[in-house]
Symmetry: C2
């Protein structure tokens, strides 16, 4: 496409590098910004720059944070004996939104994926093992590790690898339940989910 201005062309190319954005959407956004007040574009550019240069990661759980230790890790009301292992910050936000979990997190920063060339060494796994062994015998000893990973090929591979490494550390290992989603229809559930939900059925007490 022949853009009428090289400034637009450059902006469209940079916007189109974002995930899920093609050149057509990028052009739409660029023209939108050109129609709006100059202030809006400058605020957007500044917000992006500040976010990228100032955001830190919690040195304990590796979640995004404004401080060295994040708000969840430093919260005295949270249960420090449980860690939920998740892929990235979006999963932390999703679980926090349920208000059902009061423990801590450990953000792996990805998931084992041979196709994308991501191995265990690229994830914060050593840091997790050190975190668990380091707290042994202290007041903050970790008693349970919850695997909060997606039930996909990559998620299951990562869970399998983590289980193998964690077994040596004498902690309880659990995983978030797989089964029929609330509101879901038995008839339309896929065979694997339905099969697993029968095998790992819940006992009424």
């Amino acid at each position: 496409m022949n853009y009428p201005s090289k400034f637009i062309e450059n902006a469209v190319e940079e916007i189109a590098k974002l995930p899920g954005i093609g050149k057509k959407s990028a052009l739409r956004m660029a023209l939108h910004l050109l129609k709006r007040d100059e202030k809006q574009t400058l605020q957007l550019a500044e917000a992006l720059t500040i976010m990228r240069t100032k955001t830190q990661f919690c040195t304990q759980c590796h979640n995004i944070s404004d401080h060295e230790i994040c708000a969840i890790c430093s919260n005295l009301k949270r249960d420090k004996s449980v860690i939920c292992i998740v892929e990235d910050t979006r999963d932390v936000l999703a679980i926090e939104n349920t208000s059902q979990y009061r423990g801590l997190y450990h953000v792996l920063g990805g998931i084992i994926s041979p196709l994308e060339g991501i191995g265990p060494g690229d994830l914060k796994i050593e840091s997790l093992l050190n975190r668990i062994t380091g707290k042994k015998g202290t007041e903050e000893e970790i008693k349970e590790v919850i695997l909060g990973l997606s039930p996909t090929m990559e998620g299951d591979t990562t869970a399998f690898y983590l289980t193998k490494r964690l077994k040596a550390l004498d902690v309880k290992i659990t995983t978030i339940a797989r089964g029929i989603p609330i509101g879901g229809d038995l008839e339309y559930a896929d065979e694997i989910t339905l099969g697993r939900s029968i095998v790992s059925r819940i006992v009424y007490e």
Copy 2:
């Protein structure tokens, strides 16, 4: 949602102001940028700032331009006796991509839309009329005006208004053809399009 960092929250809010982007997509983009090299974000921010502050509009046709007169208006090979009136720059790009048009353009910068509070006064209509009367009797006299507007309620309203204003100026007024799209199936065409395509049928010569 409780974002883990106020920098992220600010960036998400600014990104979500773009058209077609909700908070979830905005968060996905912000986390994407955080994972990538810092350079990518800085380049994006700079490209946006430069685009917004340096892009000019052609003083004749109001298309986006790097100069006072755009590349199309200043192209000696284009037919200066025909002007195609379009809503915005995207329409110019779309028509240019067909390689079927060698005349000039006039970008209205929008379309009459009472619902969005856009009236004739918000569009570059006076500038169009002045452009036509100004060239009267010169070598670049405008002989034909093509209405290149979408066949929607707003497009038709704008076309109706323009026709009324242009009639006094003694120029030929035409509109881009409406009809069955090439490759389209008669059976599945809507009644209005099919009806119009019969009324304004093309004579084989």
